[in-house]
């Protein structure tokens, strides 16, 4: 459904060029929920904003492709992409109140959105569509919500309205950027269940950007783990979580607090995205790092025998040359 290939995005800043997204590739199959996970500054939001054409100067997409249904989203004019966004691709942001206009009624916002994509329709027609959308996101009493304003809604309700607006035109791909981070735990669960429902029942696909491993584990079929603007591991959630191949994925999963166990400590800091390091971006924090890790960028390669499970690490060498294998083993003994 969506194939992102080698997307590279940079931001100009006073201190230099920020390498926010560095050759990110992943794919989203139909009826699939893909989680993009990583810590702050890993480029997960910048990645999906690049794909959706939401990067503004001083940001600039330097290269790559994002093929959605045969169209390269990065190659088509801004107007065409805007038409796709909202109708074919629905977007749900973290803060629902940021997505809603405070001075327009919910009905008016639905009307504007629908008319922008579907051309002249009467208020009555758009209202019917909006009612249906609100019902499908589990809002009881949608009439009252339609005539109300954003500030009258609770956080959970507002996010439901945003999801309703994102899905009213029947998009086939949903992109949700931390859709529940601002919400309470019990509400988070409801919203995620709702999103999952909307994907499964209508054979849509979804990209779920999150920092929460629980969200990925419980809702995503596949996971894309990002670090310093790169995808370092991607694969089926169950496999990746059970046997993480990349040392960063291992460290991240090891940071989850568990009662009666020591928390794994990941020392050091993410490298500067301005002075982007040569070689593997994680090598300065990696306990297994070899000499070449700091010099040579590891290519993404399949983890042995697993379909669609790829990792970018010199230490995981499915079919690597025997010499490096030996080196790995030595490193392990030393570590």
């Amino acid at each position: 459904m969506l194939e992102v290939e080698n997307v590279t995005t940079r931001f100009r800043s006073r201190r230099g060029v920020v390498h926010a997204v560095n050759g990110v590739s992943f794919r989203v199959g139909s009826s699939e929920i893909v989680g993009i996970v990583g810590e702050s500054g890993c480029g997960k939001s910048a990645t999906i904003r690049s794909v959706l054409g939401l990067i503004q100067p001083p940001g600039e997409i330097v290269g790559g492709r994002a093929v959605f249904d045969g169209t390269d989203l990065l190659a088509i004019p801004a107007g065409a992409l805007r038409r796709l966004r909202g109708s074919e691709i629905g977007f749900v942001a973290q803060n629902p109140f940021g997505s809603l206009n405070p001075i327009l009624s919910v009905a008016a916002q639905f009307h504007n959105l629908i008319v922008a994509h579907r051309g002249r329709l009467s208020r009555k027609q758009t209202r019917d569509m909006a009612l249906q959308a609100l019902q499908s996101v589990g809002i009881s009493g949608p009439e009252r919500v339609l005539d109300g304003y954003a500030h009258e809604l609770s956080g959970g309700m507002a996010q439901r309205v945003v999801i309703g607006m994102a899905t009213v035109l029947g998009p086939r791909l949903l992109v949700a950027d931390e859709p529940t981070t601002a919400l309470d735990m019990t509400i988070q669960r409801q919203i995620l269940d709702l999103l999952q429902d909307l994907v499964r029942k209508r054979e849509r696909s979804m990209i779920l950007v999150t920092h929460d491993l629980g969200v990925v584990a419980q809702y995503c079929d596949r996971v894309v783990v990002m670090y310093a603007g790169k995808v370092i591991e991607t694969g089926p959630t169950a496999q990746v979580f059970a046997r993480p191949a990349h040392p960063y994925t291992q460290a991240l999963l090891g940071s989850v607090p568990r009662r009666g166990e020591e928390i794994g400590i990941l020392a050091g800091r993410v490298p500067s995205l301005i002075d982007y390091p040569p070689g593997c971006a994680f090598s300065n924090r990696c306990v297994h790092a070899l000499d070449r890790c700091a010099r040579i960028v590891p290519a993404s390669r399949p983890v042995a025998g697993e379909d669609g499970w790829n990792v970018s690490c010199h230490l995981v060498s499915g079919d690597a040359d025997p010499l490096s294998r030996e080196e790995d083993v030595r490193a392990h003994r030393a570590g």
């Binding site: 810590e39 702050s40 609770s154 959970g156 309700m157 309470d184 735990m185 019990t186 509400i187 988070q188 669960r189 409801q190 995620l192 269940d193 920092h211 929460d212 491993l213 629980g214 969200v215 990925v216 584990a217 419980q218 959630t237 169950a238 979580f241 059970a242 046997r243 993480p244 191949a245 040392p247 291992q250 460290a251 991240l252 999963l253 090891g254 940071s255 989850v256 607090p257 568990r258 009662r259 009666g260 166990e261 020591e262 928390i263 794994g264 400590i265 990941l266 800091r269 297994h288 983890v303 042995a304 230490l315 995981v316 060498s317 499915g318 392990h332």
Partner: protein
């Protein structure tokens, strides 16, 4: 002998117009020396207000707060200031809680300026360096401003400032909720190490079950200003008896994909406004296990087992309502990856 006791404390906030918001409603608990009590709840539950009331950063309307034999609410301003050397707080937003115009050294040294006036500048600097080292910061950072530090480092500064006067009791108000997972781990470990080394007593305020079950000895679950259930982590997490606790645990998302947590026990609707006066049980309007009498009978905390108190009048409920139970015992996640996967 508990080091802190909170007895029947209440607080209502009044706005310019309209009815008051009863943020904390007759809350009582105690914390033993060296123990961590977690207050868990969603936004609006009053958990942060309890922490501030205990330190008298805001004044309680009613009740008693006894810290180390002193009734905190009855101390004179001067006595209270002296008492503050022994009870401290670490806030949620590390950056906002540090004065941007002060150096790290000045921030961490300020409590000494206030409480140990006899120290010379050099002695103070030495204590600051020692403290920074203790929380895992390079003492050379003393000359930097907070803005030059990462979130994790800023929170370490906040912890150093709280600990430099050697307090005995610390309120931790969501100390890791704005931090990344890997940084959160570092801070939690640090807090745990410090507790053991310095015999600290913690009130750990959080909405996050996984950190609570990691760091706490006992848990109090709050909802609409009331404690719904209080007991050991084992009791509350593994044998929850209050419907609210159950719903909260049920909403927890396990980071282990092989454990399918299902949101089967769910409260209806959203948190009602705390201005609405409710007769009977506060959870009545949302509770899936409610019965007739819940609407009118006030639900009071009562002891179920020693040290395990519950508000629900139906407790103990016979049927185990939390389907994710086996998972919650350890909270979590896949088996810790010990070795790198061999290809």
């Amino acid at each position: 002998m508990p080091i802190v006791q909170v007895r029947n404390v209440s607080k209502t906030f009044y706005r310019d117009r309209g009815p008051g918001v009863r943020a904390v409603n007759d809350v009582s608990f105690s914390i033993e020396e060296g123990e961590t009590l977690a207050l868990i709840g969603e936004s609006g539950s009053g958990k942060s207000t309890v922490g501030r009331l205990m330190l008298r950063l805001i004044e309680a309307d009613d009740g008693e707060i006894v810290f180390d034999g002193h009734d905190v609410r009855r101390r004179s301003p001067e006595e209270l200031r002296r008492l503050r050397a022994t009870m401290q707080v670490v806030f949620q937003e590390p950056y906002e809680s540090l004065n941007p115009r002060m150096s790290i050294g000045a921030i961490v040294g300020e409590p000494l300026e206030i409480h140990e006036r006899g120290l010379s500048g050099r002695q103070r600097a030495a204590r600051v360096a020692e403290m920074l080292d203790e929380v895992g910061l390079d003492p050379a950072l003393a000359g930097r401003r907070p803005g030059a530090l990462s979130g994790g480092q800023q929170q370490r500064v906040g912890i150093a400032r709280a600990l430099i006067t050697r307090p005995r009791f610390i309120v931790l108000d969501e100390p890791t909720s704005s931090l990344d997972l890997s940084v959160q781990g570092q801070i939690l470990r640090l807090l745990q190490d410090l507790q053991k080394r310095l015999k600290l007593t913690y009130l750990y305020i959080s909405h996050d079950l996984s950190t609570v079950s990691y760091i706490a000895h006992r848990v109090a679950v709050m909802y609409l200003g009331q404690i719904r259930e209080i007991g050991s982590v084992d009791d509350v997490v593994n044998r929850p008896q209050d419907p609210y606790t159950r719903a909260l645990l049920n909403a927890f998302l396990s980071p282990d994909p092989t454990v399918r947590t299902r949101d089967t026990y769910r409260l209806s609707g959203e948190i009602p406004s705390p201005t609405q006066v409710q007769r009977g049980c506060f959870l009545y309007s949302r509770c899936p296990s409610r019965i007739e009498p819940c609407a009118s009978t006030p639900a009071d905390l009562r002891q179920l087992d020693p040290g395990h108190e519950v508000r629900c009048i139906r407790a103990p409920l016979s049927q185990p309502l939390v389907t994710v139970n086996p998972e919650l015992r350890t909270f979590g996640g896949p088996p810790r990856p010990t070795q790198k996967q061999q290809a």
